[in-house]
Symmetry: C2
Subunit: 263 residues, 2 copies
Amino acid sequence: MVSIATWNINSVRLRADQVVRFLSEQGPDVLCLQEIKCAEHLFPHEVFEAAGYTHRVVHGQKGYHGVATVSRIPLREFGRHDWQDNGEARHVGVELLGPGQGLVLENVYIPAGGDIPDREQNVKFGQKLDFLERMARWADKLDRPTLIVGDFNIAPLECDVYDHKALLKVVSHTPIEIEALYRFRDAHGWVDLGRKHIPAPERNWTWWSYRTYWQEKDRGRRLDHMWASPELATQSVSHRFVEETRRWEQPSDHVPLITEFAL
Amino acid sequence: MVSIATWNINSVRLRADQVVRFLSEQGPDVLCLQEIKCAEHLFPHEVFEAAGYTHRVVHGQKGYHGVATVSRIPLREFGRHDWQDNGEARHVGVELLGPGQGLVLENVYIPAGGDIPDREQNVKFGQKLDFLERMARWADKLDRPTLIVGDFNIAPLECDVYDHKALLKVVSHTPIEIEALYRFRDAHGWVDLGRKHIPAPERNWTWWSYRTYWQEKDRGRRLDHMWASPELATQSVSHRFVEETRRWEQPSDHVPLITEFAL
DNA sequence: GCATGCTCAG
DNA sequence: CTGAGCATGC
């Protein structure tokens, strides 16, 4: 059995303690982090080393974005892509070497896309769509058992947001983004493990805005995903999201997901 | 008996908890704070109210400097001076109304003075000397029992610094500053309570730099003072500095002083 | 609202 | 080293 987690941590330095707490309480074999917000040389390696996560691949940059995959089972880097060709650190791939041997794990942080859902008025929205398109083309060619995880910044289903109608024009839930995500899915038959294990309309949000979380209303979205190649998807045996981390002190605005595979 | 404390807190918002801990452990009747680093409307009044310090006079400004006097015995504002006439919040005076009735308590934050001890090369040094000169002239005219406390940014005696010879050319311990301080003293017979109660050469440093504190060497200075008018000085019965606060988590670089008066 | 990194100040 | 405020991004 191999368990794999993903978490947009929103600064790994600030929340190294929380990551360790999560690792010790939930014990995933591998954890993919997004928005580590530091360059590689500032990544808190000691903390992960001490926690037993002795295999790490870090693709960082100063201040923004950045992804890292940490593991207690051996792995090796499998490549990093810059689909925007602008130097942002938004992807790193690894290949598992011990248990789960042969599995490829792709850690992705899709751009947020700015505020206005129109590529004419908002270049960031166009960049998000282009990123997705290029990632879809790349993903289509993958020919090994692969898991693509991370912060997709897209909530595809109606039940993936707190108010479907209100959010149709809000970046993350617009039809154009969802169509782009579905083109990614359909080209290769990628399986949405979140919805395989927690079928709609059950709620499994992964993100709550800092701006509104303190209010009474419960306004989340499902922005974080785990997509498996068809054969691999048949081997996933459990999936959960750890909502309680959102109530920890000084939390990330995202919560982690964990999937177990019969490998 | 009335006890009066002074502490350069280096951000009262960041260290409100530490101030409350100090107040509960040491129980001074009145506390004069310097470098509160906030405007009046951001001062954490609730915290002091809950701790029983229900009388407060705050002279703050945004970001820098700022002084406040908080008290569990009644007091009223007695004026605020801007000796530099540049809008900086570096002084507030109060008059005690209950126990200690009639005592005037002046809370002062003298400018640090920059790095180079030469008014030609460093305007801040000139401003510090001018501040002292004007304060001395003002203090000379005071005609009530008065206590002047605060961060003076001057360590007058050889034993007030960790290395007298090395610091003769370092702002805070230069002869020109010390002479200015002594002109202040002599014009009115102000009594240095720190040295009345803890005679030289005993050490009673009040400040340790953040930059060097982590080193092994113990390199402090006595920058914080309590000066009493001659009659009032005869009524001081004890004086101490609370060095342990410098070892608390995320401490101020200054430690508090407390004097008790037979009033 | 909450990160980073910059500047300025001690 | 350690504050505050600012700009920027999500």
